[in-house]
């Protein structure tokens, strides 16, 4: 297979799944610019090894690249103070204080989800955004099925602990 064919194949695959990869990256990173960086890193890594990647596993490979890049980004930037022009999402107390009475009118789950550990966030995103079964999530993340379930349970418990009360319940 010549280089032009490989390039054409890769470009076609990347265009088909670009939106999916960006959605996953936005969900795990929480911001659009960081998501673009993650996808760009994943695409570059995948293109270098595109000859060896099976087409039926290519999407899983790219998902894994994005999640690993997100972990690397978290390790690289943890503990570093980032200056922003505007205040970020509200913190947990403010989030609870601003919780409305209707679940549909509630504020976004984004701050709560971003506060979760990286692996729990990845498990929840793969389960509820990509609708992957637990065994495929385990294969993507390189962990066991039991770990997937425990991480999902802890993530949901953390979301519940954010005191998101339904209608009629006083805060």
């Amino acid at each position: 297979v010549d280089d032009a064919t490989v390039r054409r194949d890769f470009e076609e695959f990347a265009r088909d799944h670009w939106a999916t990869l960006m959605s996953i990256a936005v969900a795990v990173s929480g911001s659009r610019p960081e998501a673009e960086d993650l996808v760009q890193t994943a695409l570059t890594n995948a293109f270098v090894r595109w000859r060896k990647i099976r087409r039926d596993c290519a999407l899983a490979y790219l998902r894994r690249c994005i999640l690993n890049a997100n972990v690397s980004r978290w390790r690289r930037h943890r503990g570093i103070e980032l200056s922003v022009a505007e205040p970020p999402e509200p913190t947990f107390p403010e989030y609870r204080r601003r919780a409305t009475t209707d679940i549909d009118e509630r504020e976004s789950l984004l701050p709560t989800l971003r506060a979760l550990p990286v692996r729990q966030r990845a498990v929840l995103v793969l389960r509820y955004l990509c609708d992957l079964p637990d065994d495929e999530i385990a294969e993507t993340l390189g962990i066991s099925v039991g770990t997937v379930r425990s991480q999902a349970c802890r993530g949901l418990a953390a979301l519940r602990a954010a005191d998101l009360r339904p209608q009629g319940v006083p805060t």
């Binding site: 936005v26 270098v48 995103v125 949901l156």
Partner: protein, 227 residues
Amino acid sequence: MTDDHFDDEQLEDALRRELTSWRVPYNSTRADEMISAATSAQVRRLPRLAAPLATAAAVLTVGAGIAVFAALRPVDHAIPAGGTTSAPPVAPDHVVCAVVRPLPIGRIVVGPNISEPPARVQQRLVRQAERRAHLQLRVARREARQVRSGTLRPPEASVEPLPTRVTLHPVPVPHIATATCAVLPRAGCLHASAKHICTVVVRSASGTALPPVTPVRAAPSPRPTRR
């Protein structure tokens, strides 16, 4: 619903709805930019052992450079005249005292601080004098109590008073042929610690020539006389 919280099903539905709402619509311009950037990057996968081999080569290079530098570095602590061994290099705050050969008085070369005893030595001498004065006072009080009780006859003559200041006297230099080497914390310590000052060559760390100074030591403290 459990208690006053959403149950798992509600929470899962809300989370799924939330995540789905984050879906990024396809942007052909941005996608083409990212894909072209990924395909145009001239990134080639390095061999698996490239990074460890590069690290090992860097470490060996630095080590070899240090070894060559140490081998070619001139020795700055030469052997003194008539000596048998060279003084080890020490920190600038230290001096090296090396006994090399019996020599007549006046050939003792000491560090730059030897002309005036350091403040630490002076403080020690003052403390010794204070301890002696305190001991003399205690002895005098005890003797006074014994005189009052009749167990001790009063002294006939006055006791020679103890010196409140320790005087320093010159010490003759005996001949010691054994070669020793000692590192003193300061040049002034040579006064109080060396009992037998002999042919001592004290060199500073920089190896500069130092003026000769007569060695001295503390005078023996007189013992209080008792009857």
